[in-house]
């Protein structure tokens, strides 16, 4: 029998709130966080709006001051969200069991801070081309701390040290699918017995000159500078790009039986991981939904669930014309005649697109939806795109609904698709009782 995995701790630092409770309240309220960018002077950019984490400087940092020096903005989000998740779970690695704890994170791609890049440019690329011989005099280019912060493993290293984790440790990056793939990898690691507990999540911050530039150049972000709170409108016929967000989401995952044995509060079962490659284009899935379809079906199969069990889909729903169309097409294929009975919302409508953190934060949202039997709003939907008309979108107000199984899609640039399946803990308990009964009957 497969080892099952319980979600016992949640943490979030997002534009919608710097902890789980305030984020959840804002998602229920359905009020978008889009606003003019304040992280830097974006006034000359084609898109000058984003969803930023507020009061980032006031985030409570761990007491280990040494850690803070090694932390960039997104690492600080990660440390704070992970701390919340560990406290919520009420458990931490001990010297005896630290080897049985793992850590898997989805990390952002933008690892070099703009200030350091700018310092190097002024020192050694004054004409626009790097002259390596002049790098020796640039302070940032010779600062080991700047190097440490720039490493793709900087985040996971900080978390391992902060919590004393000593088992499987990995950082993954599949663009917008990173957070989902991190949770999915963590699920597999516990299932195969390589760890009993895993701190899993994602963190990112691309609201910087180079980060925003990348998306402006591709025209992937909404240019609706004059109405930032309307810019993210997934599934609306007038949608025209995503709203860039930032932040971190973390969960504590535990082998089910041990979580039950210690009387842990279980938000949900992380029941299935579905993962596919679109192999179509770099930035889009096929309009037919090919790619996402396989991910959703694999997540259901992995969870031992069927489309009939699904009550909620937390859509990737970026608010780009192509993504929402492809995802709506995939839902029609996967859910078939039942597509109208699955409630759908994209919480990116409120907090924007957290890129490598998106899948992890949306995993937290699914756990909360199951826990509270309440579905967050797909904000800003005025006129549903006729190509998405078959979807039952949670509009205007949150919806009370017991969720047996929730799916969360994360579809990345590069064609990596992640779909996670979450199950209500009561449903899981029933399944376990049934399995025991069946195996007892066989015996």
């Amino acid at each position: 029998m497969k080892r099952r995995v319980a979600i016992t701790g949640l943490g979030a630092v997002t534009p919608a709130g710097n902890d789980v409770a305030s984020m959840w309240a804002r998602l229920l309220e359905g009020r978008s966080c889009g606003a003019p960018i304040t992280n830097f002077d974006a006034s000359g950019f084609s898109t000058r709006i984003a969803a930023e984490v507020r009061d980032a400087d006031a985030l409570p940092m761990p007491e280990d001051r040494k850690l803070a020096k090694f932390a960039s903005r997104s690492h600080r989000f990660a440390l704070v969200a992970a701390e919340q998740a560990m406290r919520d779970a009420g458990i931490a690695p001990t010297p005896q069991d630290r080897m049985r704890w793992g850590c898997v994170v989805g990390t952002g791609m933008m690892t070099v801070a703009y200030d350091e890049l700018s310092s190097l440019q002024r020192s050694a690329a004054t004409q626009g081309e790097l002259d390596p011989s002049r790098m020796l005099d640039d302070a940032a280019s010779n600062d080991p701390l700047a190097f440490c912060r720039s490493q793709s493993t900087a985040g996971v290293s900080l978390l391992l040290r902060r919590f004393g984790i000593g088992g499987y440790a990995s950082s993954v990056h599949t663009a917008c699918a990173s957070g989902g793939q991190a949770l999915g990898t963590a699920l597999r690691v516990i299932r195969r017995g390589a760890a009993d507990r895993v701190l899993a999540g994602g963190f990112d911050s691309m609201i910087s000159p180079v980060g925003l530039s990348g998306f402006c150049l591709l025209s992937a972000v909404s240019p609706d500078n004059d109405m930032p709170e309307r810019a993210s409108r997934p599934f609306d016929v007038t949608r025209n790009g995503f709203l860039l967000g930032e932040g971190a989401g973390f969960v504590v995952l535990e082998e089910w039986e041990s979580a039950v044995a210690r009387g842990a509060k279980i938000y949900a079962e992380l029941a299935g991981d579905g993962n596919s490659l679109s192999s179509y284009r770099i930035t889009d899935s096929h309009p037919s939904g090919d790619g996402p379809i396989q991910a959703m079906r694999r997540a259901l199969a992995d969870a031992g669930a069927t489309p009939e069990d699904v009550d909620y889909l937390n859509a990737h729903g970026t608010s780009t014309p192509m993504n929402d169309k492809s995802e709506a097409a995939a839902s029609a294929v996967v859910f078939g005649d039942r597509v109208g009975e699955v409630s759908v919302s994209s919480t990116k409508s409120v907090m924007g697109h957290l890129i490598a953190a998106a899948g992890a934060v949306e995993g937290v949202v699914c756990a909360l939806s199951i826990h509270h039997s309440l579905l967050p709003v797909n904000a800003n939907l005025r006129e549903l795109d006729p190509e998405c008309a078959h979807l039952d979108i949670v509009r205007d107000v949150p919806r009370e609904r017991k969720v047996r199984v929730a799916l969360s899609n994360s579809l990345g640039f590069g064609g990596s698709n992640s779909c996670l399946a979450f199950r209500h803990p009561e449903e899981t308990a029933t399944l376990i009782a049934r399995e025991r009964h069946a195996s007892g009957a066989r015996a």
């Binding site: 290293s157 499987y168 990995s170 490659l277």
Partner: protein, 423 residues
């Protein structure tokens, strides 16, 4: 459970464009580490690295059109993956399948990639714009579209090799891109094998790639005290650090049933893998190598074998004083006095960071197929801190066809993979 066999290998390093060429260099005592040529380092305190010779992107990637969308590290990754897939004969086999069979093949093929490379210089495409706009961020934003390549973000994606291997070879199965510094490629092998064990895939492409020989990376490694003067001397008393190298490698893993059914050549068998971390910080290492020892033990358990079954160890051997000493301590604690021959390859290729674990697996497999643990030419006097290690200047015969490869990275991460060579 069906055995997992290896039916294709791709490998590129400064020393050669196949695993055989790099192993030949090791056996001949030739290191490919040399003064860096791709940028001017004449005034620098450290000037050496392992660069790919006669680099021709279009030829290496096998596709000119894709070049505007990828970077040097990706080119190497595509080369290795293409080489492995060609050896495994995917295309030939797919020609025999009907449409339904091809869909099943696509969806039953996993791809996991360990990615690194060019983390700093990818941003330098903004320098002309920054030089032009100075402190004026408004001008930066305004002139962006007319100055910077619109494809910049796509070129910068860490998961490009995964994306383009998928598109070129029609792969749609479980996948992942691991950006975990040095252990990335090794973890790609482990996750690939796991996707087959779990029944989610019938075969998998595992790849790793990196191109760390860039100015900022070389300088930072030096400032962190990790760079050697001119050579990597693993386990030697006079070792003084590591040097970076470019490289990529790939393995095709598949169920034995699938390989037999399509009559593929079987080069080896995947036996198991393990991973453990120390959690002391980004650069800190435990002196006794306890994390490395746990990763090795986990891999042995996973493979269902004991220390006595291992016929050769491919050590991480990066040449830094601390890492080599703690690695020797870890190997002593696991293998004691019954240690098989130990070799290492970074002294030949330089340290290809994210590619290093998987590159070493391909080189270890090739050497084991020849029955030898290549001598380490730069090892003159085994350091007292490394005593008990069966590493030598001279090539030693392997004691079995089973190879254990160890890989260690920043953050105190460790991974080990065990394969069996089939001759």
């Amino acid at each position: 459970m069906s055995r997992i066999v290896i039916t294709g290998v791709g490998s590129i390093s400064a020393a050669g464009r196949s695993a055989a060429e790099t192993v030949d260099a090791a056996l001949e005592g030739r290191s490919a580490i040399a003064p860096i040529e791709s940028f001017d380092v004449s005034a620098w305190p450290r000037r050496h690295g392992g660069e790919i010779k006669d680099y021709n992107a279009a030829q290496l990637a096998g596709d000119r059109k894709v070049l505007k969308l990828i970077r040097r590290s990706d080119v190497l990754g595509l080369f290795a993956a293409n080489q492995a897939i060609a050896e495994a004969g995917f295309a030939r086999h797919r020609e025999t399948l009907d449409e339904e069979g091809n869909v099943a093949f696509s969806e039953g093929t996993a791809c996991y990639v360990g990615s690194g490379g060019g983390a700093f210089n990818v941003n330098y495409e903004y320098f002309p714009l920054m030089a032009q706009s100075g402190e004026d961020m408004k001008a930066f934003g305004h002139d962006l579209a007319s100055t910077v390549n619109p494809m910049w973000l796509l070129r910068a994606l860490p998961n490009n090799v995964l994306c383009h291997v998928g598109i070129r070879h029609g792969i749609k199965g479980p996948n992942g891109c691991i950006t975990n510094h040095t252990t990335s490629g090794m973890l790609a092998v482990i996750e690939s094998a796991q996707s087959i064990r779990d029944g989610e895939a019938t075969r998998a492409v595992a790849a790793g790639h990196d191109a760390p020989v860039e100015p900022q990376q070389v300088l930072y490694y030096h400032r962190c005290g990790l760079m050697a003067q001119d050579a990597i001397r693993p386990f030697d008393a006079s070792r003084d650090g590591s040097l970076l190298g470019e490289g990529a490698a790939a393995l095709i893993l598949e169920t034995e049933a699938s390989a037999r059914e399509r009559d593929a050549d079987i080069l080896g068998e995947y036996l198991g893998g393990g991973d453990a971390s120390e959690g002391l910080g980004l650069l800190a290492l435990s002196a006794d190598g306890e994390g490395a020892a746990r990763a090795i033990r986990a891999a042995l358990d996973d493979a269902g074998i004991t220390t006595g079954d291992v016929g050769m160890i491919v050590a991480h051997g990066n040449g830094t004083p601390q890492s080599d000493a703690s690695e020797a301590a870890a190997l002593r604690s696991v293998f004691g006095t019954a240690m098989p021959p130990v070799t290492a390859f970074k002294w030949v290729t330089g340290h290809p960071l994210a590619a290093s674990g998987i590159l070493d697996v391909t080189l270890g497999l090739e050497a084991a197929r020849r029955g030898v643990a290549p001598g380490i030419a730069t090892l003159e006097t085994l350091d007292a801190a490394c005593k008990g290690l069966r590493a030598s200047r001279d090539t030693q015969p392997t004691t079995s066809d089973i190879v254990l490869t160890l890989c260690r990275g920043f953050g105190g991460t460790n991974a080990a993979v065990i394969v069996r060579a089939i001759r």
